[in-house]
């Protein structure tokens, strides 16, 4: 009751023109006196709430519509596909009805962890660059939102993998990412080796060709020298200098063809 009167008092003091209104109110009951303020509050709070919830929903759906940072996680899909494989597919034999063996699942989980490691590395290396770009205003908020979402997903994904690993053997979760990291290193090593190995054939071929040309050049040189000697002898002149200049030929030819070969 006090509230109601206070309210009307307030009304009164601020605005004198409501005299008539005030005289009508005492006739109304207690509940009807509260009706107006409650209605006011409900409308206010309700509209605020709907606005905020709508806004948030819209923001969330906008964020969800953004393209994910990474393509779909293939190894995760394979692992889960194996986990949910239809047991009847193995055949009608009762023994074969058993689900996928643990070792296959372990391998699949390890492959999944390797993929995670690659993604973590990618996130880690691109983070400082991205932050820098954002500070300068070179990239939009969308990109940052996508990145943050990817980070969040990654965290959950790692937790999930650790849990799965611990389900196979206690404490495997603590070392599975170490193993995965080594596997990743191993893959990189293999790639680099393959890249360099691929040069071997071309290098060999190049060298064989080069050797052949050097040899033929050298032989030609010898022949020419002989011929010259003969002609010089015929001419009766003995010009050693000319021969010396010619002898410098193969080395120069070598130096010249070096760039051609590469």
């Amino acid at each position: 009751m006090e509230n109601a009167t206070n309210f009307t008092d307030g009304f009164n003091s601020t605005n004198g023109t409501f005299e008539g209104f005030q005289s009508a109110t005492p006739k109304l009951g207690f509940w009807s006196g509260l009706l107006l303020p409650t209605l006011y509050l409900t409308v206010l709070v309700g509209s605020l709430y709907t606005f905020s919830s709508l806004y948030r929903k819209r923001q969330a759906s906008k964020a969800a519509q953004l393209e994910p940072w990474f393509p779909s996680h293939r190894t995760r899909d394979i692992y889960l596909s194996l986990l949910h494989m239809d047991p009847s597919e193995g055949g009608n034999d009762e023994k074969k009805l058993k689900k996928v063996p643990d070792n296959v699942l372990k391998a699949a989980l390890l492959r999944r962890a390797v993929e995670d490691i690659q993604r973590i590395l990618q996130l880690r290396t691109s983070k400082p660059a991205l932050q820098n770009l954002q500070q300068r205003g070179s990239v939009g908020d969308d990109l940052m939102q996508r990145f943050q979402r990817a980070e969040k997903e990654m965290e959950a994904e790692i937790k999930d993998v650790v849990e799965e690993a611990n389900a196979f053997a206690p404490n495997w979760g603590q070392v599975i990412f170490q193993s995965a990291n080594e596997i990743n290193q191993h893959i990189l090593l293999k790639e680099r080796t393959a890249e360099i190995e691929a040069q071997r054939e071309t290098e060999k071929e190049w060298w064989e060709n080069k050797k052949a040309t050097i040899q033929s050049d050298f032989m030609k040189e010898l022949d020419e020298e002989e011929e010259k000697k003969i002609t010089q002898k015929k001419a009766g002149g003995s010009d050693d200098d000319a021969v010396l200049v010619e002898a410098g030929g193969p080395a120069q030819a070598q130096g010249g063809s070096k760039k051609k070969g590469r």
């Binding site: 293939r74 899909d77 394979i78 889960l80 596909s81 194996l82 949910h84 494989m85 597919e89 193995g90 055949g91 074969k96 996928v100 070792n103 296959v104 372990k106 391998a107 699949a108 390890l110 492959r111 979402r149 969040k152 997903e153 965290e155 959950a156 994904e157 999930d160 196979f168 053997a169 495997w172 070392v175 170490q178 193993s179 995965a180 990291n181 080594e182 596997i183 290193q185 191993h186 893959i187 090593l189 293999k190 680099r192 080796t193 360099i196 190995e197 040069q199 071997r200 290098e203 060999k204 190049w206 060298w207 064989e208 080069k210 070598q254 130096g255 063809s257 070096k258 070969g261 590469r262």
Partner: protein, 204 residues
Amino acid sequence: MDGVPDVFHQYPLHLDASTKAVSAASLASDVALQNELKELNTLHRQIIALETPQQMVPPPTPVNPKRSAQITKMQETAAAASKKGNYKEAIGLYDFAIKMAQERPPWEASGLAREELSGLYGARAQNFMALQQWADGAVDAELALEMKKVGNTKAWMRRAQCLREMGRKEEALECVRFGLDYERPGPDKAGVAELETYLKELEK
């Protein structure tokens, strides 16, 4: 599960009843998937070969010493053959040792594999050089360097020599200079001195 989709794409996978190999015959055109499954099956076989309790994948260290011992033994035999002048035999042995080192289970410490492979490639490069197969020597030396760039003066030297023998003096110079950049702060003073003198020789 904040923000993570609780859904996944189910692949129509098939598990072979006897070999336990996973395949997806209906998605033969998806090359990436097929490669991934191949990797998965290889890893699976490596896990089956494990002798640990419950066939659990062990942490990267300590490494099972069996393979290292075998590789060392083969390396010694190869070095002995090389000393006798049987370079071809030595190269064959090194080939084998390299293969063994490459087939190490991938979860084992990669630093060890790098170390071993670097030594093996370096030694094979030397044997190729003895046979005057400069192209092979250069590639092997490069591989040795790829595995281990610092503390590998011999490999830098070998690569430079091979390049020079093939008449690629500029590349040889570049190689020696790079090598010196890597090696100068290192402890191998004799190797650095050797590289320095070779550099001077090349710069003439």
